[in-house]
């Protein structure tokens, strides 16, 4: 009896792993963990445990079937990869934006480039250098107070420290527009 149930479970695993392995590179991390895009940390963890019980290589350690083992290992490595990205709130948000955006196909796997993009976005948000951050904050304060010229000066000086900060450039434009606005 027991042996029979095990056999059926193994047949299932064999069939499922074959199906998943065939399309593994087309799946996003949510799909790999069998989750909707809206899943939060708790769902991610529950699913990681469930899929581990299914695809952990230890489950079939005692078998001889090398092809099945290789397939299951390949899937399981993708499961741990999915988990390590989705368990982090910031990375999960970034990943979700990536895979729902226009370059989904290239963004299915969170890599070094994704991490760099995340870091850049964060730097642009608050400034990447101490002086840049200070001047950026001063510019924002001036802008809020309606001192558009002072704001533009601060942003321009911040740009000296961070020449490639796109958000600064946008803020300079904003200050200029507001300076030009009332005159028009």
């Amino acid at each position: 009896m027991v042996a029979e149930t095990l056999d059926i479970e193994l047949l299932e695993l064999s069939a499922e792993s074959e199906a998943i392995a065939g399309i593994l590179d087309e799946l996003d991390y949510f799909q790999i963990l069998k989750l909707p895009n809206t899943a939060g940390l708790a769902d991610v963890k529950t699913s990681y445990y469930q899929e581990s019980r299914r695809f952990h290589p230890d489950r079939i350690f005692h078998l001889e079937d090398a092809a099945l083992k290789a397939r299951v290992l390949r899937i399981y490595k993708r499961i741990t990869e999915a988990y390590s990205v989705l368990r982090d709130d910031v990375r999960r948000d970034k990943y979700l934006a990536d895979i729902t955006g226009p370059s989904r196909a290239e963004k299915l796997r969170y890599d070094e480039e994704s991490e760099q993009e995340l870091k850049r976005a964060k730097d642009e948000e608050i400034g990447a250098t101490p002086n840049g951050r200070k001047l950026f904050a001063a510019g924002l304060a001036a802008l809020q107070a309606g001192q558009v010229d002072a704001a533009e000066r601060s942003f321009k000086m911040a740009l000296l420290y961070e020449p490639s900060n796109e958000r600064l450039k946008a803020k300079i434009d904003e200050a200029r527009e507001r300076a030009a606005g009332p005159k028009a």
Partner: protein, 527 residues
């Protein structure tokens, strides 16, 4: 046919322990004298035989130059590493440089690699079970500190093979302890494992969800253990002796061995009884030929003061592990103590203070790791898996870049098995080889990390500079061992890979060691 059997071995710095799991139960296996913990000591006798375990430990004083202990402190390390430099000053046996910056130990007329010595301890564990059960044992799960790097894990695995064991898995000591604690209990808890061994300290935070044991984070210090506590007592004894007599006991390896033995005993007795009398009769002679005794009393307050900074260091590691797991000490449901030194009141009290709760009672800190390893061994062989260990890699995996810096490929605390790929482009026309140096460590500087080896890839298409793209895949398996492979990105054809600058043993050396190990005779004298 009887059910296939696999054992769980806790290969410790000071003591080792071996267990077997059966359906619904597991037990620590005693040797023929009833000992459950066996000194990780190998003594090489004059007649060419060896003595292993507690009998060998007694030879540290009588046969110091040919008795190897604390080999685990040396395993998988380079000859020039800090730990080895320290060991060469401290150990009465001779440590010399081997091929590829490796280590060899010289005993009698032999030159042994460290895994060969560890293999003798493992073989002893194997034969303890064999004589207890009256049947052959071929398979084992061996534990190692969670904070061990790839070189140390690989060397531990090699030791198992040399001992004639098929190593089913290398698992982390704290993970094994958590498994022994939570196995079959159907609990959902966050658990902290405080593992202070003879030579290493590990802290792992786990989340147990019934049959799933997820390691949330791990942190450690492979240079901190109970031996360091002994060392503090030794320094105190020797310093005091120097003040009284003008003689420095530390200059003589025989005296050092006596001091070490006395210090360990005093530490244990002081922990148990509150104070310990230390008497070493005839430890040395003065210039006039008078035989001198060493006589001292160690009290708990004295001892606590000597080791307080070491104890504090363990809590820095705890802070780090909790932070990485994004938890606070108060969110931990259970604290498990592992390792002989955690029997000391100063440790128990400090741990209780730190976590705000009593450590779990009823867990033997010297047996729990091997029990966990045996559960995992049985689970691996069984057709119905009962436990899932979801472990992590303790150290960032890096590659060397320009100017002595590194780039992280796989971050620490990443769940394993895992793999990451990176594409490299040829930088010269007609380039035939791509070389990558792989390292492990916390520092972004290459020289502050442990080198795992230099990988050279060849056999790909040859073309103009920048035209050929090689995809290199870095994999960390369930043993925590690193594998590197590469393929031509366009054709998908795997390249040839060769490794150099690695501290490990070659396949040929392992095979040679295996036959040497088989030929080694155990001394017939017992107890």
């Amino acid at each position: 046919m009887a059910e296939e059997i696999a054992i769980g071995i806790d290969l410790g710095t000071s003591y080792s322990c071996v267990s077997v799991a059966y359906e619904g139960s597991q037990e620590v296996v005693p040797n023929e004298w009833g000992d459950l913990n066996h000194a990780s000591v190998v003594s090489f006798l004059e007649d060419g035989t060896i003595s292993v375990g507690n009998a060998a430990k007694r030879n540290i004083v009588s046969n110091p130059e040919h008795t190897v202990y604390s080999a685990k402190r040396l395993i998988g390390r380079f000859f020039f590493s800090e730990e080895v430099v320290k060991a060469r000053q401290m150990m009465p046996y001779t440590i010399v440089e081997g091929p590829n910056n490796g280590i060899r130990i010289e005993v009698r007329d032999q030159r042994l690699a460290v895994p060969e010595v560890s293999a003798m301890v493992l073989k002893e564990m194997k034969s303890i079970v064999e004589s207890h059960l009256g049947r052959e044992v071929k398979k084992a799960v061996i534990t190692c500190p969670a904070y061990f790097n790839d070189n140390q894990r690989q060397a531990t695995k090699d030791a198992g093979r040399i001992a004639g064991l098929e190593v089913l898995r290398i698992i982390n000591e704290p993970t094994a302890a958590a498994l022994a604690y939570g196995f079959g209990k159907e609990i959902s808890q966050k658990v902290a494992v405080y593992d202070l061994g003879g030579g290493t300290f590990d802290m792992s935070i786990l989340e147990i969800g019934k049959d799933v044991f997820e390691v949330l984070s791990t942190a450690g210090d492979t240079y901190l253990g109970g031996d360091d506590f002994d060392h503090r007592i030794m320094q105190w004894l020797a310093g005091d002796f120097l003040d009284k007599t003008g003689l420095d006991l530390r200059q003589n390896k025989w005296c050092l061995a006596m001091l070490n033995e006395a210090a360990e005993k005093a530490k244990i007795r002081c922990g148990r009884e509150g104070s310990a009398e230390i008497l070493i009769p005839g430890i040395c002679q003065d210039t006039e030929g008078n035989v001198l005794d060493l006589n001292q009393v160690l009290t708990t307050p004295q001892f606590n003061q000597m080791v307080m900074d070491l104890v504090q260091r363990t809590f820095k590691v705890c802070d780090e592990a909790l932070q990485a797991a994004r938890l606070t000490a108060s969110e931990i449901d259970a604290v498990i103590l592992v390792g002989g030194p955690t029997r000391l009141p100063v440790i128990r009290e400090s741990v209780m203070h730190y976590f705000g709760k009593e450590p779990m009672a009823g867990i033997d800190p010297e047996q729990v790791v091997s029990l966990g390893a045996s559960i995992q061994a049985r689970s691996l062989l069984a057709s119905e898996t009962e436990t899932y260990l979801l472990d992590v890699t303790p150290l960032p995996l890096r590659i060397a870049t320009v100017g002595g810096f590194t780039e992280t490929i796989i971050g620490k605390n990443t769940p394993v098995p895992t793999e990451r790929s990176k594409v490299f482009t040829t930088s010269r026309d007609d380039q035939e080889k791509v070389k990558i140096r792989v390292l492990q460590g916390e520092s972004p500087k290459a020289d502050e990390c442990e080198s795992l080896g230099e990988f050279e890839f060849s056999g790909f298409r040859v073309g103009a500079r920048g035209e050929v793209k090689i995809e290199v895949t870095f994999e960390i398996d369930t043993d925590g061992i690193v594998h590197v492979r590469a393929a031509d990105l366009e054709t998908g054809k795997e390249t040839r890979t060769s490794i150099s600058l690695s501290s490990g043993l070659s396949e040929a050396e392992i095979l040679e060691s295996m036959s040497r190990n088989r030929a080694t005779q155990r001394a017939s004298v017992g107890g």
